[in-house]
């Protein structure tokens, strides 16, 4: 095993993964630097979600290594990876995936409560974050009474409330219209920069990728060198996929 470069908070080498035989990732390597916002671009089915799940320890790659701050994630036990996800990472799904029984602020405070924070601290912190994301007035409502954009912002607040080391966002703006999309992604990136949270952002959207510090492109489970927006859709991508 080779130790990763020092300035990378998260580092992956030749990740290979297949879902029950269907290939998803094929030898992907990348490094994520401390405090940067890295966009993972690519069309549907290019392996973005699988890459993020491997990096966050939800999946163990069949080949390759994942390192987080000098500790090997790929060799950790399931319990350790669970603890890592709880204490150092957070995750935003394409769908808000809130707990329907809990109110908005309880949903946002859930990661803190899971870490064992006191009820009062969790509530104060969650309400602060909801206010910062402009949904403080919905704090006492349940998810079913909210709009999809509001739910997604609660999911963002839930991911930010613990100020994690790395935030994984898997197409966080997928179900939203353009205005809501811009607002969600801007609040996410602004919060990440002001709290120096490293963000790995999977997206299909070129505008979203433009807000990132660096872009990594995936196609058919392989990493390709960054392309211009016109080329990525066109023949250049096709020739590279061979």
């Amino acid at each position: 095993m080779v130790a990763p470069p020092d300035n990378d908070v998260l580092w992956a080498r030749s990740l290979t993964y297949s879902h029950n035989g269907s290939p998803a990732l094929d030898g992907v390597s990348l490094g994520v630097r401390e405090g940067e916002i890295l966009a993972v671009c690519g069309p549907r089915g290019s392996g973005k979600t699988t890459l993020l799940r491997c990096l966050s320890g939800q999946l163990v790659p069949q080949e390759g290594e994942v390192w987080f701050n000098d500790s090997p994630v790929h060799t950790m036990s399931a319990v350790l990876r669970e603890r890592l996800r709880r204490d150092r990472f957070s995750w935003i799904d394409p769908e808000p995936a809130l707990v329907p029984e809990l109110t908005a602020w309880e949903n946002a405070a859930l990661p803190l409560l899971l870490r064992g924070a006191s009820h009062r601290v969790a509530k104060v912190t969650a309400l602060e974050w909801l206010d910062r994301l402009d949904i403080g007035q919905c704090a006492r409502k349940r998810p079913y009474a909210l709009l999809q954009a509001q739910r997604q912002r609660i999911a963002v607040a839930r991911a930010l409330v613990t100020t994690p080391s790395v935030l994984f966002a898997d197409e966080p703006t997928a179900p939203l219209h353009r205005t809501d999309r811009a607002q969600v992604i801007r609040t996410l990136t602004t919060a990440a920069r002001s709290h120096s949270i490293t963000v790995v952002l999977a997206t299909l959207d070129e505008e979203v990728a433009a807000l990132a510090d660096r872009t990594v492109s995936l196609l058919d489970g392989r990493r390709i060198s960054s392309l211009g927006p016109t080329e990525a859709e066109g023949q250049a991508a096709c020739s590279l996929s061979v």
């Binding site: 939800q58 319990v79 669970e82 603890r83 890592l84 996800r85 709880r86 204490d87 990472f89 957070s90 995750w91 799904d93 808000p96 995936a97 809130l98 707990v99 329907p100 029984e101 809990l102 309880e106 859930l110 990661p111 409560l113 899971l114 064992g116 006191s118 009820h119 009062r120 349940r142 998810p143 079913y144 009474a145 739910r151 839930r158």
Partner: protein, 383 residues
């Protein structure tokens, strides 16, 4: 055919639940046939025996509906809805599979009955076997078929009605369905009915005895009044069950809860409607059993026969299995939430602890309640 195919591909646990429905249906069918056999020899007073069969019948129908609701093959899925297997068709599918399993059970009951009739020596029914099986008499075919069709008909109709609402509700995305966190409204009605039932029972036990239908064991009061009181108490408990479960959940998550109490309490509040009713019914059945055992003594006039035992086993088994099935259903309904919690890094022990907290809360509220109702119901019977 689709129902059979889906059943063939199902997991063993699902098949076990279906087999239990078959067994319960067979048990009720056998009880009904034995009642018919008895009525052939004793036309007077046999209607009361038939009425007693209604309790196991109701328990079996309740269980069949609960199993149909839990069946994974009939759960609404967006993909299936797109190919035309929407709520309406799924309702038909669930009703069909319920009808098939209940009819299979009835057929088994008929076979068992005919086998015991043709077997002249050993019969598990004891001394009354010949009378119950009506040996040596020809049984009316139409009556037999009508009685055997009772369970499939009622179970299919009840499944159809229950699934129509269930599939429509489940076809919507989980987040757009308002979780029923408001207090279920049945609690005051339930408490009032339970109290009224106990009062009727106490009043009836003092009035003159000897009336039909005869109760098993030793009892001198007016049995019709006592039975009416019991039924009122049972209905009251079934109505109050959701409200009490909701109250349990509210108490669990009161006063600055951490993650475990918060999740356990809110889940109980949401599930109150689903598991509260079977809980109330089970509570009523257990208290009924306690009261019934207080009737039977060593010197009872009418000792418990094998059919009373079969009926009691059916009622207890079906209500307990219904509760377990309802629990499984609510676990299926919570699957998305469980996945979300796993993504957040919630350890498996946290979810297990939350489940244990829920079970403990329910036990601490319902066990004393059952004991209290049983004690109150038994006082007028023994005094």
């Amino acid at each position: 055919m689709l129902a059979l195919r889906l059943g063939r591909g199902a997991r063993p646990l699902v098949l076990v639940r279906r087999l239990l429905v078959v067994a319960a249906s067979a048990g009720v069918g056998f009880l009904l046939l034995c009642t018919l056999g008895w009525a052939m020899g004793h036309p007077a007073g046999s209607a009361a025996r038939l009425l007693w069969c209604l309790i196991p019948l109701a328990a079996t129908v309740q269980f069949a509906v609960a199993v149909a609701r839990t069946e994974p093959g009939t759960r609404p899925r967006t993909g299936l809805s797109a190919v035309g297997l929407g709520p309406a068709r799924l309702t038909t599918l669930a009703a069909t599979s319920t009808a098939v399993s209940c009819a299979f059970g009835s057929a088994l009951a008929l076979l068992l009955f005919l086998h015991l009739r043709s077997d002249p020596t050993g019969s598990p029914l004891g001394g009354q076997g010949a009378e119950l099986l009506a040996r040596g008499q020809s049984l009316p075919l139409a009556a037999m078929l009508t009685l055997l069709a009772l369970v499939p008909t009622f179970a299919t109709a009840a499944t159809g009605m229950a699934m129509r609402h269930h599939t429509r509700r489940a076809a919507r995305p989980a987040e757009n369905v308002p979780p029923p966190v408001h207090t279920p409204s049945g609690l005051p009605w339930g408490v009032a009915l339970t109290a009224a039932g106990l009062a009727v029972e106490t009043y009836a036990s003092r009035s003159g005895g000897g009336s039909a239908p005869p109760l098993p064991g030793q009892f001198d009061g007016s049995s019709a009044g006592v039975l009416a009181g019991w039924s009122l108490t049972a209905i009251g408990l079934a109505l109050a069950g959701p409200g009490i479960t909701h109250l349990c959940g509210r108490l669990v998550q009161i006063l600055r809860p951490g993650a475990i109490r918060l999740l356990a309490g809110r889940t109980l509040m949401t599930e109150a409607r689903n598991i509260g009713r079977p809980l109330g019914v089970l509570c009523a059945v257990i208290s009924g059993v306690f009261a019934a055992t207080s009737l039977s003594g060593p010197g009872a006039v009418r000792p418990f026969g094998p059919l009373t035992g079969l009926g009691a086993a059916l009622v207890i088994g079906c209500t307990a299995a219904t509760l377990l099935t309802a629990t499984a259903e609510s676990r299926q309904a919570r699957a998305a939430t469980t996945t979300t919690l796993h993504h957040l890094g919630a350890p498996a022990t946290l979810l297990r602890t939350a489940a244990a907290v829920r079970a403990t809360a329910i036990l601490t509220i319902f066990a004393p309640l059952t004991w209290m109702v049983a004690a109150l119901a038994a006082i007028p019977l023994t005094a």
